[in-house]
């Protein structure tokens, strides 16, 4: 219930007093017990595992029956959003569902695994409100996104399942209604993946992109015997590729399937994570799809909702060697401050998670080796990821969720572990990343099998916390306890002519010599949703010279000389923020 207090982070505010206390505590800790300086140093990112005190009881299931169906290890994503508009970030976890042969199959609905909504009560304490909110879908959850598709001021929820998808309309009173049928967005009976709301044609409402993984039926052989002698899931190559879906919003609560007309369905792949971004800075929103073991897609929008697939020409379809990757999640951010959004894609073991630098002329360069952004990923299977400035130094760091998919990995290879720690690569600000996972507190010691990762400010203290969905295990909640005097700003957009949440809007923040850009994205990372309010670390800059918001459709608002360390709201057409 605690909204981000506009005075909270001013110098001398309780938050800063708390920080000074922590600094003092850190100094005492060093003096008293001679602790490792790195673990207490100012500016060193500290992520602490607060799951045990969070009140969250969710436990993920993949619905497996021992048949090792292909979608089992792919589930799934999660969403961070403020469903009740009380000013703090709530969590929605996707869950699996009993697959054919599962002992849970056929149980009463009340006993089925289901998705879960946890309301944030402040202080990173949560209450399960799934039942009262009416969002306990028992479908097989793979991807999720959030967007105000009916522009009524509250966030709606879309689930991309194995099986029919679900659109939950937010009633504005803490409850949701399943409106899938009338909206026409069930998307058949497919194996889903990432999904996103975006405005494809600049008409002011949110359209819907739905990625699909592959064509599946229970009579296809599910598993195969690996060279190790153990049974493993068949990879996506064993199944036919499939085209993705695009639905245009008719502005009356219904959608029209424009998958073919838009050019999206002309290309078939094995879709996983997806993100909608304006990669060419031409004012409209393009779509990027991470494909598993086949070339990634980059659908370039002509501004009217027609798309051309330019993955190969742009350099995004393959890594620098021309190899396809088992691409999983997509992170998006301007890591090098050149004003162009870069992309980071996670992948399978023996492949580097890959950093694609947007060169600004329609191309992406694989700069993974040059920047060391793949360090520590080669021996891991990597999933959720994104660019996050954990220490507010103005440079976007990389968080990477890791976890294997083979049940018998340890039996077949003693050097391997089924559970893996996650990875944090710090952006040093000179085009390089450094693996600091070992020095980040107990949050990075958590050794589970992670999938979707989501990033937002759970405790409204200004820094970004992390929530991770772990496969067949409870989730992980990491509170960011970094001690730093750096400044920050979070910006909430309110569209008036364009969509209500400003999805697709481009935000530029200039503070002294530090210039950064971000966009509002619905659906990102590994089949997840989070971070609707762009967040910027500002380093030592205690004033913002200029914020420029370019809304979908081309309208631009400019605000100047702004204070820092707060959440501000910028309403389309207004020259001053509200707090």
């Amino acid at each position: 219930m605690t909204s981000l207090n506009d005075t909270a982070a001013r110098r001398g505010s309780p938050h800063n007093r708390a920080r000074r206390s922590m600094l003092l505590a850190a100094a005492l800790c060093l003096a008293a017990i001679g602790a490792d300086y790195a673990s207490c140093a100012e500016g060193q990112v500290q992520l602490h595992d607060v799951m045990p005190t969070s009140g969250i009881m969710f436990n993920h299931t993949d619905g497996g029956s021992g048949k090792l169906y292909v979608m089992e290890p792919m589930t799934g994503g999660l969403a961070l959003f403020d469903y009740d508009g009380d000013g703090d970030t709530d969590i929605y976890f996707l869950n699996g569902a009993p697959l054919k042969g599962s002992p849970l199959r056929g149980n009463a609905v009340a006993n089925q695994p289901k998705n879960a909504l946890y309301r944030n009560d402040g202080g990173i304490r949560f209450t399960d409100v799934t039942e009262q909110a009416g969002v306990g879908d028992t479908g097989y959850g793979l991807g999720v996104t959030v967007g105000d598709y009916d522009n009524d001021g509250d966030p709606d929820l879309y689930l991309n399942n194995f099986g029919p998808n679900i659109l939950y309309r937010n009633n504005g009173d803490g409850t949701f209604t399943d409106v899938t049928e009338q909206a026409g967005v069930a998307d058949g009976d497919q194996v889903g993946a990432g999904t996103n709301f975006l405005d494809i044609d600049g008409d002011g409402d949110l359209d819907l992109f739905v990625s699909r993984y592959l064509i599946f039926s229970y009579d296809m052989e599910a598993a195969q015997t690996a060279l190790t002698g153990y049974r493993v899931q068949s990879g996506p190559q064993s199944y036919p590729r499939v085209g993705n879906s695009l639905y245009r919003n008719n502005s009356d609560g219904t959608f029209t399937d424009v998958s073919h007309a838009s050019g999206i369905r002309s290309h078939e792949g094995h879709g996983m994570g997806s993100i909608c971004l304006d990669f060419d800075n031409d004012g409209d929103t393009d779509i990027c799809v991470a494909n598993d073991q086949c070339p990634n897609f980059l659908f370039q929008n002509d501004g009217t909702g027609r798309f051309e697939e330019v993955g190969l020409e742009s350099g995004l379809a393959y890594d620098i060697n021309g190899n396809t990757q088992a691409s999983m999640g997509i992170g998006c951010g301007d890591f090098d401050h050149d004003g162009w959004l870069d992309l980071y894609m996670t992948s399978y073991e023996l492949e580097l998670a890959t950093l694609y630098q947007n060169t600004g002329d329609g191309f992406f360069d694989d700069v993974t080796r040059l920047t060391r952004a793949g360090v520590g990923t080669l021996e891991r299977v990597t999933w959720g990821c994104d660019f996050v400035d954990f220490d507010h130094d103005g440079n976007k760091d990389l968080f990477i969720a890791c976890g294997r998919i083979e049940n018998y990995i340890k039996e077949s290879d003693h050097s391997m572990s089924y559970d893996e720690p996650n990875t944090l690569l710090m952006n040093t600000g000179d085009g390089q990343f450094v693996d600091v996972s070992a020095d980040c507190g107990d949050g990075l010691d958590v050794n589970l099998c992670s999938r979707g990762a989501a990033f937002d400010d759970l405790d409204n203290d200004g820094d970004i916390d992390v929530v991770i969905l772990n496969w067949r295990q409870p989730p992980t909640i990491l509170r960011n306890d970094t001690v730093s005097d750096n400044h920050w700003i979070r910006i909430r957009l309110r569209g008036t002519k364009t969509n209500r949440d400003g999805v697709g809007a481009h935000v530029k923040v200039v503070a002294g010599d530090l210039s950064q850009v971000a966009e509002v994205h619905s659906g990102r990372g590994y089949q997840s949703h989070y971070g609707m309010d762009p967040h910027f670390g500002l380093g030592k800059h205690d004033r913002i010279d200029r914020i420029e918001v370019r809304w979908i459709g081309g309208g631009v608002d400019v605000l100047e000389n702004l204070p820092v360390d707060r959440l501000i709201t910028i309403t389309e057409g207004s020259s001053s923020p509200t707090q």
Binding site: L312, E313, G315, Y318, I320, N321, G322, N323, F363, D365, V367, T368, R369, L370, T371, R372, L378, E379
Partner: protein
């Protein structure tokens, strides 16, 4: 034993054995190379770089070190250094196409697209089915806005990729053949172990035992290089020139791109007074490694004292001074010019030699003698 462990991916054990070997003989470049390979396999690229450099320091001619070093540097995101290493290389290794590819990748990352394209093209000329190089070339051409040509290579890349996938499927579908592959692999490993054992015995002066191990290795593996190299050296020293020559011929047949084997053959043929054949082998060696000077020195010996083709000797000596502008090289050029009746050339060359080594009394006396010769010839 280290090699055997490494072949079976027991890296820790391999390194332990290799370290023991280094305790006995710290000048084993091949051991450092093996350890560099393990380090690279474990993604410890800085260590791999250090070990490669150590191996190079001990034996600059050890095959594949430059390639491995370049690979490790590339993995560390240091394209400028990759270029520096591979530009020094004569591209005479079995990895020539990969070296050109690495150069292409390095220039691509440095956004020097024309140089990237040129190197990818060289890689493709050596290996037309090189899928990665084809993709690299398409990428470089795209960035150079040569859209039509880029589209052609993108198309070719997709064809090659499809063929690669087909090949992988075929390989997976033929697991039964694995038994044969395993046997071949085992023979290869045993031969390598025998060859390494031979080197250890030679190091301790037990030449008979070394010979027996090398002969066995060569018999087991018709492509084993180490054993044949060892035998060549052994037979050459014993004066068993015909046996040495046969092994040299085998080496050049197994690895025709290796300059060293042609040069060794040439030197051996020269010792056997077969100067025409020696000249042919030495020229082949120089062609493969045009920047390395030992081949020029040997060829000059053959031309001046064997075939006595002084005009050719003068040309070769001129190439030598370009590569190695030392007092010694200019002295050889001077001698070649003199033999070719080019007295002004001889004087100019010896003059340059004395400039480079002004304290040499011998050079001064040669210069004086040549000046007197010129005076005598003056009208």
């Amino acid at each position: 034993m280290g090699t055997v462990h490494h072949q079976f991916e027991h890296r820790e054990e391999a390194v332990e054995w290799w370290q023991r070997t280094l305790q006995r003989n710290p000048r084993r470049a091949d051991i450092y190379f093996g350890m560099a390979t393990v380090a690279a396999e474990e993604e410890e690229y800085e260590k791999a770089i250090e070990l490669c450099r150590k191996a190079q320091e001990i034996d600059p001619d050890l095959p594949e070190v430059e390639h491995r070093l370049a690979e490790a540097l590339a993995a560390m995101g240091r394209p400028e250094e990759v270029i520096e290493v591979l530009d020094r290389s004569d591209r005479n290794s079995p990895n020539a196409s990969e070296d050109y590819y690495l150069l292409g990748q390095s220039y691509l990352q440095l956004r020097q697209y024309d140089l990237a394209a040129a190197n990818y093209e060289k890689a493709l000329s050596l290996r037309p089915s090189y899928t990665n190089a084809c993709y690299g070339l398409a990428t470089a051409l795209t960035r150079m806005k040569q859209r039509e040509k880029a589209a052609q290579y993108h198309e070719k890349f997709e064809e090659l990729r499809a063929a690669d996938l087909q090949a992988v499927k075929y390989a997976l579908g033929n697991r039964a053949k694995r038994v044969d592959t395993d046997l071949d692999h085992a023979i290869h490993v045993v031969a390598k172990t025998r060859a390494d054992a031979g080197q250890i015995y030679r190091g301790h002066g037990w030449l008979y035992e070394a010979e027996q191990h090398w002969l066995r290795a060569a018999a087991l593996d018709p492509r084993n290089l180490t054993s044949r190299q060892g035998l060549v050296e052994l037979y050459r020293r014993r004066g068993q020139h015909e046996e040495a020559l046969e092994l040299c011929r085998q080496l050049t047949k197994i690895a025709p791109h290796m300059a060293l084997y042609h040069l060794n053959t040439g030197v051996l043929l020269a010792q056997m007074q077969r100067f025409d054949a020696a000249e042919q082998s030495l020229r082949k060696g120089i062609e493969l490694a045009p920047k390395r000077t030992p081949g020029y020195h040997s060829l000059l010996q053959v031309l001046m004292y064997g075939t006595k083709d002084f005009s050719q000797a003068k040309l070769v000596a001129e190439q030598l001074v370009e590569l190695e502008p030392t007092a010694g090289s200019y002295t050889i050029l001077s001698e070649a010019c003199h033999h070719d009746n080019d007295l002004p050339g001889a004087l100019a060359a010896i003059g340059r030699a004395t400039e480079l080594d002004p304290d040499s009394e011998r050079l001064k006396s040669v210069q004086k003698w040549l000046q007197e010769e010129e005076t005598k010839k003056a009208p």
